[in-house]
């Protein structure tokens, strides 16, 4: 089994859950939210809590698409080789995603686990397909290997950002199946 895998024993990175808003630092002295991390107080009167949530929801101001949101779209994609997500393998990370909502631009850099990884193009393709499917078409998306992390960096980058070649790849039934397999973990958490 080992022989088939290009990197059979990769480093697993700790995935950090988003540090939520510190519940203790509420400025309203009347707030009792801190007591209900598991919504115990809300349980006592769920209708009230619901109505409140709905009211705040409707008042939410417009939120621009940011790196955080993109990272959430990408982090649960499976690695083609391992039953591990790209976040666990640190292939994608928040710091390497830049988004400009106004200019309609997004750049994603990814880091292959090892410099000679032949799966890099496939991973890049998965990222690209995911973004084509889930970002508004007004965005110009740039998916690239992070500088100095792969031996054939230039070749891969060229392949990934060539519209024709991406389109051709997506015509390939087998390839799209593999991509679909990797993406299946990204939805419906």
């Amino acid at each position: 089994m080992d022989a088939e895998k290009i990197n059979a024993n990769p480093i697993i990175h700790q995935t950090v859950e988003e540090s939520e808003r510190n519940v203790y630092s509420d400025s309203d002295p009347w707030s009792t939210d801190f007591l209900a991390p598991d919504a115990q107080v809300g349980d006592i009167n769920p209708d009230y809590a619901n109505a409140n949530a709905n009211a705040t929801l409707e008042k939410t101001p417009a939120q621009a698409i940011d790196a955080d949101e993109l990272f959430h779209l990408l982090k649960d994609i499976n690695d083609p080789e391992h039953p591990l997500t790209l976040e666990q393998l640190a292939v994608v990370s928040k710091a390497q995603i830049t988004v400009d909502d106004e200019q309609n631009e997004a750049t994603i850099l990814f880091t292959p686990t090892i410099p000679h990884c032949s799966m890099s193009t496939l991973i890049g393709l998965c990222l690209r397909v995911r973004l084509i499917r889930s970002l508004p078409p007004r965005f110009k998306v740039d998916v690239r290997v992070r500088e100095g992390t792969h031996m054939q960096e230039a070749a891969i980058n060229k392949q990934l950002n060539d519209k024709e070649r991406v389109a051709a790849a997506l015509e390939n039934g087998h390839l799209i199946d593999v991509v679909q397999q990797c993406l299946s973990t990204a939805t419906g958490r």
Partner: protein, 846 residues
């Protein structure tokens, strides 16, 4: 099935030594079972039934061992998915039966086969089953006998030595992906045979890990090392969590390792980046019974952990683990050290310069720590002391509010755990609470947020009282409410008389919500004393209810007071309708006048009716249906309140009642299937009225009936809704055309729930697919006009279709949906975008 059953009996009851070969042939030819039950199978035999029966056969005679083990190993490597798991389960059950002799001969190949599933696992389910098989293998091979003195696992006899070798290699690089399954294997071994394996394996695993931790070869190593140490300690703590097995007798960790481990962990706890895994590992040592002597070290450990619990800037996970650790230390240390320290750290009163963060962190910790017996009493006394000392300004009232909220959370927790001692400790705080509001800080009663919390707390306390305690309390409360005599409730000797809250234009009407909340949980068998000591003219419960109704319709009543009186009236109707006949006659008499003109008093009346109807419905009383029929008549008679009918009837059908009609929360009367009966009666009536209005093309009237139907369907019991689906589904679809965003979203949510619970609905949905999809798409892509909730619910429902609808139907719509949802991908709200991405992805996968 029958034959498998018979086989088991034969194999267990008779000596089958001489026939084992032929029996093996007839039984094992069925293995593994890949049978799939045909649709509409009249016998209802499932694959798992067969698997289980065959497994029983295979495991019923040790004579199979010689032939069976190679066969099982063979099948294990050849199969996948559920069949592989079946094989592993069979191995798990068979090995102990086949016995040490046969198993030890094949141990090497068994381990090879099983280990692949763990070391190269593809899904956690199979991995866990494989770990169970490994446990069975080890338990068979290493019967738990005398504890060993061995420290070095490389000197272990048999297969364990080999296993350790494999794992030892893997954990040399603790940050790599293979180390995790290796540690799982070692932990399983320790749990399987603690006497023989725990000591050598623990030492041979932990010592190199600790050495590597001290001098890491790579900066990424320390956190995974701590996680691995944690996993080993978890295995040990599972074995030695209670006195069942003696830690001291098995002695799996010798003093020098213990010292090394404690030093590493306690010093790492102070290192912020590594605190979380180090503390988790440390807490596991507290779980191991016998590892620590709490009489000696308990106080010191408590002091380390308390600091984490108090610190509001601490990672919430760290705080939870620290609390878990504190709870291991036992009642004495919590009572003597921990709680006093926490209670003194929260201030006696607050001012504008107070930092609220530590107070909140400490109170949140207390909700987890002060649940049991004496500890709860400590906290109750602490709260009482603080309440005595605060001043009455707004900030301090907010402080009292969070103290009382904390107390409420703990009481709810105790009630959930069925503790019987709530009333024992809370009796005193009830009168303290009233003293606070009535005497110490009379102004505080106008602070609705505090009154709301206090009311809920009072309800929770009175709920825990028994009949005799409630009887006394009821008398005191009534005395205060009707006569203004407070001394009973306040527990004082002197007479304390104010204006009765319930009298017209009373200066004390703001006290009503507090008093009402004490009455709501009173049990039916408790007599509400009205006439006994009363100086007022109220002679019966009916008169009391009538007075209360008038009182709450007065222009002086605030929303809080109105809600409290609605709750109390619904609760009284529910429990004591027998003694309220005059009151209900009064309400029915007032009805025509109250619904003829719009005024604030009349609106309050309508809501009171809504609550009375709820209370009556819960116990299947005809009054509920009578009021609902009267409400429907308002639509026909074009009353000024016709537009409100749909909402009110929906609220009546709604199960939620703020707990005031609940059997557990307020000792309400709730008869079985009362909702079904209500719908059986009301639903056809509304449908009929709707249809006749529609046929006469009275558009406004039929729209109101339609809205009523839509409100009713949302609260319909699921089983009933499913039975009536062909009838209600078209109604739901038409209701989507009503221009009411909230109603639309609830209708969509109802459809979603129905589809997800019962897939047969899909058939009905398919017939309406095209119109449904058109409306859903227009809702979800119109960020200008539809509300956020409507967009989210429409997208959710769209995302559900690919799971439940036939593929050929889906394909007709795929292109349309995938194209149009692009618009929703660019929604201004993040939550909507997320749902759009998911829905679109599901459709793309069609």
């Amino acid at each position: 099935m029958l034959i498998f059953g018979m086989n088991t009996v034969i194999l267990i009851e008779f000596d089958t030594m001489s026939h084992s070969e032929s029996l093996f042939d007839v039984i094992f030819c069925y293995f593994p079972i890949t049978f799939k039950p045909p649709p509409d199978d009249p016998y209802g035999i499932s694959t798992d039934d067969l698997r289980f029966a065959l497994r029983q056969n295979i495991c019923s005679s040790p004579h199979f061992a010689q032939q069976a083990i190679p066969l099982l190993i063979d099948k294990l490597t050849a199969t996948s998915g559920p069949v592989k798991r079946d094989t592993l389960l069979t191995i798990t059950h068979a090995l102990p039966v086949y016995g040490f002799g046969h198993v030890s001969q094949k141990s090497r190949s068994l381990w090879d086969a099983i280990s692949i599933e763990i070391l190269y696992s593809t899904d956690t389910h199979t991995e866990n089953v494989a770990l169970d098989s490994l446990q069975s293998l080890i338990t068979t091979l290493y019967p738990d006998t005398h504890p060993t003195e061995l420290l070095n696992a490389t000197e272990l006899p048999g297969i364990a030595n080999l296993i350790f070798d494999v794992c030892h290699d893997a954990i040399k690089q603790p940050e790599k992906s293979k180390s995790t399954p290796a540690i799982k294997i070692l932990a399983t071994l320790i749990q399987s045979s603690p006497a023989t394996l725990a000591r050598p394996l623990t030492h041979s695993t932990l010592i190199p890990l600790l050495e590597l931790f001290a001098v890491p070869a790579d900066p990424t190593q320390p956190p995974p090392i701590l996680n691995h140490i944690h996993a080993i300690l978890v295995a040990l703590s599972k074995v030695y969590a209670d006195q069942g097995r003696s830690f001291l007798h098995d002695n799996p960790i010798n003093p020098s390792l213990k010292e090394q481990l404690n030093n590493t962990l306690t010093s790492t706890i102070n290192n912020k980046p590594l605190r979380s895994p180090a503390l988790a590992a440390f807490t596991q040592t507290l779980h191991i019974h016998g590892y620590w002597d709490f009489n000696v070290d308990g106080v010191q450990i408590a002091n380390i952990l308390i600091d984490f619990v108090k610190d509001p800037n601490q990672d919430p996970h760290v705080r939870l683990v620290a609390i878990e650790g504190l709870l291991c230390l036992g009642q004495d240390i919590l009572h003597n050290i921990v709680l006093p320290s926490l209670l003194t750290s929260i201030p006696t009163s607050v001012d504008s310069s107070t930092d609220w963060k530590p107070i909140r962190a400490i109170l949140a910790s207390i909700t987890a720590l002060a649940v049991d017996g004496a500890l709860f009493e400590d906290f109750v006394l602490g709260v009482e002391a603080k309440m005595n000392q605060v001043s009455g300004d707004s900030l301090n009232l907010a402080y009292v509010n969070i103290l009382l909220s904390t107390l409420l959370v703990i009481i709810e927790e105790k009630a959930a755990k069925k503790h019987q001692d709530i009333s024992q400790y809370t009796c005193s705080i009830l009168s303290k609470l009233f003293v606070f509001f009535v005497i110490a800080h009379p102004g505080s009663v106008n602070e609705t947020r505090l009154v709301e919390t206090a009311s809920r707390l009072i309800q929770a306390i009175v709920r825990s009282f028994d009949v005799s305690q409630q009887q006394i309390l009821a008398r005191h409360v009534m005395n205060a409410l009707i006569n203004g005599y407070w001394q009973g409730l306040l527990g004082t000797e002197d007479d304390i008389i104010h204006q009765p809250p319930l009298s017209t234009n009373s200066t004390h009407r703001a006290f009503f919500p507090l008093l009402a909340s004490a009455l709501i949980p009173i049990k039916r068998e408790v007599n509400l004393p009205l006439a006994s000591e009363s100086v007022s003219e109220l002679q019966s419960l009916s008169e009391f209810a009538t007075t209360l109704t008038r009182w709450s319709m007065q222009s002086a009543s605030t929303p809080t007071q109105q809600i409290a009186s609605q709750h109390l009236l619904a609760n009284l109707t529910n429990k004591r309708i027998e003694s309220l006949s005059e009151y209900t006659t009064h309400l029915l008499g007032e009805w025509p006048e109250r619904t003829s003109a719009e005024s604030s008093a009349n609106s309050i009346f309508l809501i009171i009716i809504q609550w009375i109807a709820k209370g009556a419905l819960c116990r299947n009383h005809a009054l509920g249906v009578e009021f609902v029929t009267k409400l429907l008549d308002l639509i026909t008679s074009h009353s000024v309140y016709a537009d409100r009918v749909a909402g009110v009837i929906g609220a009546i059908a709604d199960d939620s009642n703020d707990g005031v009609l609940d059997r557990k929360r307020s000792n309400g009367v709730s008869s079985l299937l009362h909702k079904q009966r209500f719908f059986d009666v009301i639903f056809p009536v509304v449908v009929e009225r709707y249809e006749s209005a529609a046929s006469r093309s009275e558009d406004t009237t039929s729209a109101k009936y339609l809205a009523t139907l839509a409100h009713l369907i949302q609260h319909m019991p699921k089983s009933l809704a499913l039975a009536k689906l062909p009838q209600i589904f078209p109604i739901l679809l038409i209701a989507l055309s009503l221009n009411d965003a909230a109603l639309r979203s609830s209708v969509i949510e109802t459809i979603t729930v129905l589809i997800l619970t019962e897939e047969t609905i899909a058939h009905t949905v398919q017939q309406h697919m095209s119109s449904l999809i058109t409306s859903l798409l227009s809702f979800s892509t119109d960020s200008e006009r539809s509300s956020v909730r409507l967009r989210v619910s429409a997208l959710k429902l769209l995302g559900v279709f690919p799971r439940v609808i036939r593929k050929d139907i889906l394909e007709q719509f795929k292109l349309q949906i995938v194209r149009q949802l692009v618009v929703a991908l660019d929604d201004p709200i993040k939550l909507v975008r997320k749902e759009a991405v998911d829905a679109r992805e599901f459709w793309l996968q069609v």
